[in-house]
Structure formats: C-alpha cells, structure tokens
C-alpha cells in the first residue's frame, strides 16, 4: 500500500497482438526451446541471464536494470481457462473477466467506479490512445480518453488559439444544463461539461512539466511520457491505461519482435526514471499484460497464436523477482500438445492489484475469488 499521503496509482500497459513469452523470458538452457524454435529463437550467448535457466531477451537490457533493482515482478505463465486463440476474444476476456460469455463492462471501469463513486474527478481514469478500451468501460463512469495530450480537447481542429477559445466558450454555454430539458439532454449536457473540465485540467500538465529524461520517439514512449506528465501534475488520476501494438508476430518475428521489446524496455525505464527524478515513484505500480503467448514451435518465420503469456508488475512498491511457475516445455506437459500451460489465472493477478495495491474488494470486479500473489513490499 502506498504511503499515507499519496494515493496508489495503477498504470496498465497492454501489449496488443500476443507477446511471445518464450522469447521475452527465455528458457535458454532448455533443449526443447532450441529444438522447437529452429528459426525464431534467441541464441544462448546473446541472452541476459536471470538465473541458471531463464534469461531476458537481449533488447530488454534496461528492463533488466529495473529487475536487478528488485522493481520488477515477473509473473510466469498467466492465462485463462478454455483458451481461445482469437485476439479479439482473448482481449475481451482480459478486459471484462468473462471467459464464458461476451460482456461489456470492463474490470478497470468497475474499479474506477469504486475508487470515485461520487464521480468527483473526471480524470480518475484516463486512457491514452483514441477509442476507449473495453477494460475501462462501465456505464455512468466518466473516463477521459486522450489521443494526444498536447492538443487534447474539443474543437481541436481549430488551430488559432483565440478562435478555439471563443468556440469553447460558446460550447460551454450551449451545454449548460437546463432544468426540464429531459434526461438524455441533461446527461449530454453534463458529459459536455465534463469533457471541458477534463480538458481544462489536462492543459496544466504540459505547462507544468520539466524533466531531464529524453524519451525515445515512438508511440509507446510518447504515451508513457503523457502518463508521466499527467501524474506529475497531481490531477488525482488513479488509473492510467496505455497500449503498445504490433506483437502479432506470425511472420518475420526476428525483425519485428526485438524492435518492440527495445521500445518497451526503453519507454518503461524512462518512465520510471522520470518519476524518480520527480520523487513521484513511490505510489505508482505498472501492470504489463498481453492477451496470450505464442505457440511453442515456430512456423519458420514467426510464431502463431498460443497461450500462457506472462505479466509484469513494475515499480518501487513491488518486491521484484520471479512469481508463479515457468510453463513447462516438456511435451507431456504441453497444452493440446503445442501450447504453454498456464498456472496463474489472470483474475488472480487482477485481484492482487485491486486488493493489495488499490485497496478495493476484488471479488465483485473479477467475478469470484482467485488465488493471489504477494508481490508488494510492506
């Protein structure tokens, strides 16, 4: 739990497309790994060893620095029952905690409702990237979704600032809630005013921000810099959501996957360095997840959809180390004879974060009781 003064903050980073766990945390001493991956494998001499059996991908050097400082909990082999190989279905399940049926309420939307039941702050939950992920969706929960922090807000197409301000002023007048205008119109008015309020608050973030950290020039680094700027502005945001796409490596994985991991490693390390520089890292934990891992055997150029991916909890409050059990590559242990078998239910990971970090009752959010991990310092 965070210290008494600062409320705990959660940053969720989604790796979209299905990150290849076997080439992220690599069982580099396992002969079956090398035999199963004649093409899409990382040579033993290139890896960054964690211990005698596991190693990080060579592009994860800065991620490994955080791990060496005991700030990264690697959760090995995370998944859900009745594995589904569709990205979309897989992502839906992760977003809604409903493996059996299609649901529309997201786990973070429900968490945000519990964190801010009176809707006191329109910025309690912010998603970076246009379009709301289902994880953040819940009826009546105001979530701010920011495409680009520097131009965020209404009428952003009007470039001349004075004209835009004038337009926003008229907008505010048009959306003033009027008595007796009807339920839907009233709701619309409040939403319009919420958007204006959120944009006004968010405008402070770039203005206040100064840092020596030079983020790289890629979308993930940009998003995490936006998260840092908003967090550092002290606007009361408790849940941030952001995404890193492109992990669906069916082909040419040896070219694409290292680049992505390099971006991930650098952006995450820069983000935490930025927070540390501003003495603002004590109350921030990041959860990194992906919808599924990839097939054990490669297909000659890439890897197809599989199961049993990994998740990561990162931050100063985290007690670093390896959690869970690495999925066995032994053919008798493989799922359906070709996939990694997970041992940690993803809802147990969520419950861990919700209860032990955010201090919420996880049961109604994840839909049951699941075994939790203990990855936080006291």
């Amino acid at each position: 739990m965070a210290d008494g003064e600062r409320e705990p903050v959660l940053v969720v980073l989604q790796l979209s497309g299905g990150n290849d766990f076997l080439n992220t945390v690599i069982p580099y001493e396992d002969g079956i790994y090398h035999d199963s991956r004649p093409t899409v494998r990382v040579a033993e001499e290139q890896v960054i060893p964690i211990d005698g059996t596991l190693a990080f991908h060579p592009q994860l050097a800065r991620f490994n620095d955080l791990f060496s400082q005991d700030k990264v909990a690697v959760i090995q082999g995370v998944g859900y029952p009745n594995h589904n190989r569709s990205h979309f279905r897989g992502m839906d399940i992760w977003h809604t905690c409903e493996p059996e049926k299609v649901a529309t309420e997201g786990w973070l939307g429900k968490a945000i409702r519990d964190l801010d039941p009176q809707h006191e702050n329109v910025l309690t939950g912010i998603s970076f990237g246009r379009g709301l992920p289902r994880a953040m969706a819940a009826p009546e929960v105001p979530i701010t979704s920011v495409g680009d922090l520097d131009s965020y807000g209404l009428m952003s197409g009007i470039k001349a600032q004075q004209q835009r301000d004038e337009a926003l002023d008229i907008f505010r007048q048009m959306y003033t809630p009027a008595v007796g205008s009807g339920m839907v119109k009233d709701y619309l008015s409040h939403t319009g005013v919420d958007v204006l309020t959120g944009a006004d608050l968010l405008k402070q973030a770039p203005e206040k921000y100064h840092s020596t950290v030079q983020y790289a020039d890629n979308p993930l680094a940009k998003s995490l810099r936006d998260v840092a700027r908003v967090h550092l502005a002290g606007l009361g945001t408790r849940v941030f959501y952001t995404q890193h796409g492109g992990y669906d490596s069916h082909a040419t994985q040896l070219a694409t996957h290292p680049k992505l991991l390099g971006e991930l490693s650098g952006a995450v390390a820069d983000f935490f360095q930025d927070l540390e520089e501003h003495d603002a890292a004590d109350n921030v934990v990041m959860l990194v997840f992906t919808e599924f891992g990839r097939r054990i055997k490669d297909n000659g150029s890439g890897t197809d959809h599989g199961s049993g991916g990994g998740a990561y909890l990162i931050g100063k409050p985290v007690q670093g180390g390896l959690y869970g059990q690495y999925p066995s590559l032994d053919p008798t242990q493989q799922l359906n004879g070709e996939d990694l078998r997970h041992h940690v239910d993803f809802r147990g990971v969520y419950a861990t974060v919700l209860e032990q970090w955010l201090g919420l009752d996880a049961n109604p959010i994840v839909g049951g009781t699941y075994e939790q991990l203990h990855p936080f310092r006291n």
Partner: protein, 467 residues
C-alpha cells in the same frame, strides 16, 4: 416550399436515410409526403449506385480481405445511394442480427452477410430469418456449425428467439433445446485457411446425416420440425410481432430502453407500438407494409430530434452536410474508423446483442470524437456543402444581421430546432462579428470563415447529437 414542409421532409430523410442536403430537399418540392415515403419504400425502382468508379479509386475492393475497405464502400453507399432506406435498413438488420468479424476474422462472410441484409432490406420477416439461418457468418458466429445431431449446441436456437425474434420470457428452455435440435446439420463449408493464399469464401451446407429428424414439440406445436418449420412457427408468435415492432420503433421513431429490459418495461408509446403490431399481423410480417404505416403515422412525424444519432448516422449525415465524398476522394477510408472511435465499428458490433443505443452512445470520449469530427468536416470552406451554404447566405448581397445569420444557418444545416440556450449562444457568436457582409473580397473571405465557424458550432451543439 413552406419551411414546415421542409422540416418534415428533412426529418423523414434523417430517419429513413442518412439525411438530405438542402438541394435534395428542394428537389422534393411539390411532391406529397406520402409519395416520397412510397419512393423510399421501393428502392428497386431507383437506380443502384454505380460502383465502377469506386473500384477504380479503391482497388482494395478487388479482394475481400479488409473489413475497413468494405465498410468504407458501405459508407460511400450511405452517402450517395438513391435508395437511402435500403442502406438504412441494412444497418438496422446489422444491428439486430449483430455478427462480429472479430470472432471469425473471415471477411468474405462478413461482406456477404451485409449483402444479405441489403438484398432483403424490405422483405417479409420470414424471408429474412430464413436467409439468416443459411448465412455462413451467422452460423459460425453463433456456433451452429457446432450443432450436431448427437451433440446439440443451443447458441443459435437460443439467440434466434431471445435476440432476433421474440425476446426473453416468451419461450422455455425446452423450446430452446427443440429449436437447437431442429437446426442440427445446418452448417458451413470449412473455408480454405487464410495463410498463405488469402481469403476464400465459404457457403452454407446442409448435412442430413447430422440432422436430428425426430419429432419435436416447439412452442406447443409437434412435428418432425426442421429449421424452416421453427421459423414458420416463430413468425406467427404475437411476441415476435411485438419484438419487431419495438425494434422498428426504437430505430426509426424514438429511443427506447435497451432490449434486455423489454420484458419488464413497457414501450414509451404503447399505442404506436400497437399500431405497428396490427400491421405486422395484417401483412404477415411484411417489413415494407409496417414501415409504410410507421412513416405515415403522426407519432413518427412528431418525433423530431428525440433519438441520439448513432455514430454512423452522425458521420454520414455530417459528410452529406459538408458535401464531401460525392465522388471517390481521399479520406473515405478513414470514415469507418471515425465511427469506430465514436463507438460503432461496422461489421463488429460489441456482442450479439448489438450496439446499445440512445444515451449509451455518449460518453466523454465519444462526445469528444463526435464534436471534433463534425466540426472538422464542416469547418473547411472549400467543401461543396459549405460553399453552397455561403452561397445561399450571400445571395442578394445584402448584409445579414446576426439573428438572421444564426437562423439561416440553422435552417440550411437541418433545419435544426435549437433550444433557446443554444440559439442564444450562437447569437452571441454572430453578434461578436456584427453583420455578415459580402461586399469586397476581403469581406467575403472573412464572412466565409465566420459561416464555417457558425456551422462548426451548430454541429457541436447538443441538438445536433439527435436525429
């Protein structure tokens, strides 16, 4: 044409289509309302859209691989079709029989399902349900391809009644089992995998050896029912008449509570729904006949601006206002994505329940997208629709006082009924620049900018969010 007639026709075209430009409305001058309705109800008498030019500009349409390209084509049809009701009903059926590309990731079957809805847009319900039960995208989406004689899968049998025809509470679990058994053997041919040769279409297959031909009792009627018999029984149910009537009311007249609430909450306007039910019964579920009654009714004519526009309605309606994309032009492929950011991804409804409508279209993120999309679309004075509005305002050359500036813009962009708060805000903007003048070139240039800005404010207004 009297302004009140224009407003009524504009209302009809917003609901039965995706809106009409002022020029399109003026072209209807002198026609009776009923004759315009009749023309809408007979799309087959209007020329279909010429797609040759579209294919020339968007060669992606040669392959059935990207849903985005095909959704752009659909939006192009919504903008330009001479058969607006056909496209509107295609969207209606798509929302009702909600099938997601995300599960199959098989574009050809998603495309052919939309074609099915277009082909049967105004057909009797029986025909539509029967075609739907033969549709590969649907059979795969609701697992009827896994519905076997010795291992029935109830998914399609259940949703056919719960979400596609009767609604919860009007059948028993026993009926679900019987419907599932009747549809055993209705399956799809396994398509050739996408890798490495791309998509291949699939088709419906009936496997008699996998069909349960035994006697079944379904909704109280006993026989050796096959799927077709199940549909015959379903379309005769009073619950079906009511369910379809409420759907048509919700889509064309006014926002209703969401479908799962229908077996608890009565319609907002029970008499209107009863009128539609009566026509369903009189016409044996003929959609054209029911819609004729609907569009000609007073309850429809009076229901102005009381439905929240769906994202697709907002995008297409605004493009019609700006006059863009009347011929293929860059940016068309971005339009489905714009609707997606507002919460409506065509060919990808969130669940089999379809999109939740009404106020559920609106949250902070989607409102931001709606306002910014619309404002950007009409803020460009080079677009033909904006030019035409400037032209209409400058006609005669006399300066326009602020109040007239506001009212004429509201007329030309709708006509849109602005409440007093909105009108006062727009007037404040108009007054800040004084009279609108079209004298010297510099004056004209400034006035063009002010008209565009006024249109941006109008499409940002709360009223514009409603159809």
């Amino acid at each position: 044409m009297a302004e009140s007639d224009v407003a009524l026709l504009a209302h009809l075209m917003r609901r039965a289509g995706f809106g009409a430009t002022r020029a399109e409305l003026d072209a209807l001058a002198g026609r009776s309302y009923e004759s315009v309705v009749e023309e809408l109800l007979h799309p087959e008498q209007q020329p279909d859209i010429d797609e040759d030019i579209l294919r020339r500009y968007f060669p992606g349409l040669v392959h059935q691989d990207s849903p985005g390209t095909w959704n752009a084509r659909w939006i192009y049809r919504m903008i330009n079709s001479r058969r607006p009701l056909e496209e509107k009903l295609t969207l209606f059926w798509h929302g009702l029989f909600a099938t997601g590309w995300d599960k199959s990731e098989h574009t050809p079957s998603s495309i052919s399902q939309i074609e099915l809805f277009r082909r049967n847009a105004l057909a009797p319900l029986r025909t539509i349900l029967l075609e739907l039960s033969h549709d590969p995208a649907m059979l795969y989406w609701l697992d009827n391809s896994e519905n076997h004689r010795d291992a029935p899968n109830e998914n399609y049998g259940r949703e056919l009644m719960e979400l596609f025809s009767m609604g919860l509470g009007n059948y028993s679990e026993f009926d679900v089992k019987m419907a599932a058994r009747a549809f055993t053997g209705w399956t799809v041919e396994q398509p050739i995998p996408i890798y490495p040769y791309g998509y291949y279409p699939t088709r419906f297959v009936y496997r008699p050896e996998d069909h349960d031909d035994s006697e079944k009792t379904f909704l109280g009627e006993t026989g050796r029912w096959n799927g077709e018999d199940i549909i015959d029984i379903i379309v005769r149910q009073p619950a079906t008449a009511r369910f379809i009537a409420r759907h048509l009311y919700n889509f064309f007249v006014a926002d209703e509570p969401q479908v799962p609430a229908w077996n608890q909450s009565p319609p907002a306007d029970p008499r209107a729904v009863d009128t539609l039910i009566a026509e369903y019964n009189a016409s044996s579920g003929d959609i054209r006949s029911i819609l004729r009654v609907l569009f000609n009714s007073d309850f429809f004519k009076e229901a102005r601006f009381c439905r929240v526009k769906s994202p697709v309605e907002l995008v297409v309606g605004t493009v019609k206002l700006s006059g863009a994309h009347r011929l293929p032009e860059p940016g068309l492929l971005a339009l489905p994505g714009a609707a997606g950011l507002m919460g409506q991804r065509l060919m990808n409804p969130p669940t089999v329940e379809g999109w939740h409508t009404g106020k559920e279209w609106i949250d902070g993120g989607t409102l931001n997208e709606r306002v910014n999309f619309a404002a950007n679309e009409v803020g460009d004075t080079r677009k033909p629709g904006v030019k035409a509005i400037v032209e209409a305002l400058s006609n005669g050359g006399a300066p326009l006082p602020p109040a007239a500036f506001v009212d004429r813009c509201l007329e030309l962009a709708g006509p849109l009924d602005a409440c007093s708060t909105t009108r006062a805000a727009l007037l404040r903007y108009a007054e800040s620049g004084g009279e609108l003048c079209f004298g010297a070139d510099a004056e004209k240039e400034e006035s063009r900018g002010r008209v565009a800005r006024m249109l941006q404010l109008i499409v940002a207004s709360p009223e514009y969010q409603f159809a």
